[in-house]
Each structure stands twice: as C-alpha cells, then as structure tokens.
Symmetry: C2
Subunit: 300 residues, 2 copies
C-alpha cells in the first residue's frame, strides 16, 4: 500500500481530475434549455465522495495507461459512471421513491427545482453517460465494451433492477440472501462496473478482469454493509442525508438482519477478501487496496 | 410511390418485424426482477403505430442492406428507438409531468403498476436501448455512430431538452418560433434519428444523410402539427389517450397559434417538402414517401 501521505495526495489529484472530467464532459450550464442543464450540473457536481470515478482511475493503474487515448478513456469512464450514479440519486430521492429532501447536505433536485425537472435531469444524465462514452477519442472496441458494461450494470438486470427489488422489499421480511442479491444489483453492480471500466480502458486480460471482479464484489458488499451501519449509528448531518430512514420504513438492512457487531465484522472480512483478490497485481494495485480500506472505514 | 396494396403489405411485414425485434431484444418477462421486466414489456409492447421503427426500416431501403449484419443493425435500431420512445411516454405520463391515466387505450404504466415502478421502467428502457445497440452483431463503427446519434437525439439537447422547454411553456405565450424549436427537440429529434439510424446502418454518404435530414425535419414538424390538429378535433377514444389536454392546460399548440385551417395547410406543405427531399434517391425512397403521407394523413 501507499504511505498515508501518498494516498492522500492521490485522492486529491484524482478527486480534482474527476471534477474536471465532469466539468468538461457535461454540457455548459447555459446550453439551451439552460434550466435543465444547470440542474444537471447541480445534480452531478454537488460534491460527494466520487468513489466510482476514483475506482475507475485506480483500476486504470493496473494496466498500460501511458497513452493519451487511454487517459481520455479513463476520464470519459469516470464522468460517465458519475452521471449514472447522479441520475440514480436524483430519481431515488423523488417523492414516489425515497422522498428525500436532503442529499450531500443540500436540497435534493426536486426540492431545489421541481419534480418534473428532477425527472428529466435523471433521464438526461443517463443519456449523457452513454453519449460521453460513445464519443471519447479512443479505440472503438474499448468504447463499445465500456458502453455495454455500463448498460448491463445500470439497467434492469443491474442497478435499476436492484431498486425494483428494494421497492418490493418494504414491509417484507427479506432474508440475508435476498438482501445480498438486492444490494449486489442496486449498488454493487455500479461499483463493480467502475473498476471494470478502468480494466477495459487499459485492456487487462480476462484473468485479470476476473481478479478485479472478485475485488469489487467483496468491496460492493462491504460498502453496503458499512452504509447500513452508518445509517443505524450516525446522524443526518454527518451523513449529509436523512439518517435512519430504512429502519423507520421497516426496510431490512444488514444491521437489522445481522446485528450491529456482526455487520461490522462482516465488513472487515470482506475488506480482507477484496485485498487478497488483488495480490497478483503486485504494487500496481496499492491504490485500489487503499480505496477498499477507505470505503470500509469511512465515516469514522 | 408503391401501390396502396404494396404499401399495406410493407406496413404489415415491417410492423410485425418491429414487434419481433422488440420481443427478441427486450429481456424476458420472467427475468429477475420479474415485475419490472413485465412492466417494461407492458410499456414497450402495448401497441402503438411503431412509426419510428418503420422509419428505420424504410430509410434502411435507401442504401445497401443485403447483408445479415445490416439487417441485424436495422432490427437493433428499430427496437432501440422504440425503447427510447416508450421510456419517454412512461415518464411523460407520470403525475409530475402530464398526469395521464390512459395511453394507447390502456392504463398508463403508473396506473397499471405504480409510480415508482413506472419511473424505473422508463429508466431501464432507456438503458436497454443503448445496450441493444452496443451488442448488435455488426460493424463496430456503425454501432458507435448509432449510439451517438440516439444519445444526441434523446438527451438534454434533444428530446429531454424539448420536454424541459415544454414544461416551462405552460401558461406562457410561447410564439411560433419557440413552439417549433420546442417540438423540433421534443418529438422531431427522435423522428429524425429514426431515419438517421437507417442511414447509418446502410452506410449512406454524407450528402444522402443530408437529404434524409431535410426529409425528417419537415416530417417531424408535420407530425407535431397533425398531432395538435387531432388533439383539437378528435375524441379520446379515437386518440387512445386523453384528448384536448394541451388546450385545457393553456399550453400553446399549432392550432391555437395558427388556427385550425392554417395548421392543416402547413402540414400539407411540409409533406410536400418531405417528399421533395427524397427525389435524388429515386424509387428506393418510395416507402419513406408513403410513410410521410401516412403520418400527415393519419387519424382521418
């Protein structure tokens, strides 16, 4: 792993690079219709930890990333995955879904604008994600592979499907296997896709992609368990969103199903699995390892 | 142009082919989560005139379309554009937008299922459109060009942007130029994209693509004017959706801005422009010409 100081520098550098990629690849806020484009930027540029773009860049360090084309592909992937993530948050916050007023410490898009605009903002951010990947100046096969991976991870067999299962789970006693499957789709698929995009951009071999998939599967599950732990223990100000909602809505969580202590231990175990999956990459994987530690230990 | 009988046979053949393409390229209704996938099929397979897929196939007759790959590209384009159209209808019908209970003579998706499911159905149909194009077995450059064209036409500078302008127009006195620009984005862009996809799939030259663009620009405007004329004159049963809503909502329409007679004449003139744009293609363009006549004279 990096030294703490090295990793903090990396986080700063690639956090800024994620912001720059979004700044450059979203339409300007004064593009007609200006209100929609301004709201798209409000949704996508309102902070957040940028975990998905950071995972893209970190996975991009595993392969050959020296060329300008590869770097452009990584920027496009980072911006595209964040557009998809932002769209999902905007739609998730709508009254017919989670009905949240607060996101990343600011009013949600339908509160800052209105519901219809929030609907269109999510729709158009999704479109923009695919448009960004289709138009990046890199090898055409890499572009297509990235588009296919992102669509598969975010569509009805991925993120959107997980949200549908989540909807159906309210008031039901989903068991642990059901909860895992729901989260693997709802949040895990997009996290896995982040490292997958980095691997596609740098043309990793299939066996290397498999190691990455093992890493991200463990990381995705750990991420969600930590989310539930934080939701059960932190307050709204720390979270930047309304705390304790899942429990209040009688939604099953890892904490309600496993208990708090076991959930914390499971997150630790998964962190170890994630780190072990990267052994064959040697020192090139140190940033991905640091990110796994960051994700599991966040909010403490 | 074709004889009436020939054209009716063409419509039947390619209407069925559009349905088959959707049947094959949507996920099966029992794919997990089954409720979402069933609702996606409810939204996309509930009839409709399939004008956009028909435009794809008709434009596909202008170039070299003999190969299996090109035919696969046309099927993918037909299904993808209908997925985008269906997603836009599902979201448009939601309470925060047009709040419609009836679509194509059946309950809208949020009435047949629920609002949250309708939101996810639209989201996932959009994703599926790009996934279909990314994975069709044809030349990679054709796939990327189709994805880029579809994203551009359906995103914030196209269809979604037009819907945003439409939202802002309620209660305002949008003038004719403003109304045209709104409709060029809201409905015109996707109609134009339909013929564009057919042209991309059959690798037309840039000058031929320009003729196609002229055709579809005129057709798109005519289409919307006819829509407004029908909305002002037909009843809900004939339309398969709630009639007279725009006027009731004080939204500007071509009929309110131009008057009924002038609107009808404008549609006729645009039909002539559309037909004239196709002259250089000779007899290969007869189906596209027939479709222009069908669109302008529909509902009579």
């Amino acid at each position: 792993m990096n030294s703490k100081l090295q990793f903090e520098g990396w986080l700063r550098t690639y956090g800024e690079r994620s912001e720059l990629a979004l700044e450059r690849l979203l339409d300007a806020a004064n593009t007609n219709p200006a209100r929609l484009h301004e709201a798209m930027r409000y949704a996508a540029q309102g902070g957040g930890k940028r975990i998905r773009p950071l995972l893209v860049y970190a996975a991009g360090e595993l392969g050959d990333n020296a060329s300008t084309e590869t770097q452009a592909a990584l920027d496009a992937a980072a911006a595209a995955i964040e557009c998809i993530h932002a769209y999902s948050l905007v739609h998730d916050d709508l009254p017919c879904m989670d009905d949240d007023d607060l996101r990343r410490g600011r009013p949600t898009v339908h509160k800052a604008y209105d519901e219809a605009t929030a609907l269109l903002v999510g729709d158009a951010l999704q479109t923009r994600a695919f448009e960004i990947l289709a138009n990046v100046q890199c090898d055409v096969n890499i572009r297509l592979e990235m588009i296919s991976a992102l669509a598969s991870a975010s569509g009805s067999r991925g993120m959107a499907g997980g949200q549908a299962i989540d909807l159906d789970s309210v008031g039901k006693k989903l068991d642990l296997a059901g909860l895992k499957q729901m989260h693997a789709m709802k949040t895990g698929a997009l996290l896995s896709c982040s490292v997958q995009l980095g691997g596609i951009a740098t043309q990793l071999h299939p066996s290397q992609m498999q190691h990455l998939a093992n890493y991200s599967e463990a990381l995705g599950l750990a991420f969600q368990i930590v989310d539930d732990v934080l939701d059960a223990t932190a307050d709204s100000q720390t979270l930047g969103k309304t705390a304790g909602k899942d429990a209040a809505n009688d939604k099953p969580t890892y904490v309600t199903l496993m208990g708090l202590d076991y959930a914390k231990q499971a997150a630790k175990d998964l962190q170890e699995t994630a780190l072990a999956s990267l052994e064959s990459f040697g020192p090139k994987a140190r940033t991905l390892k640091d990110l796994a530690l960051l994700v599991v230990n966040r909010g403490k």
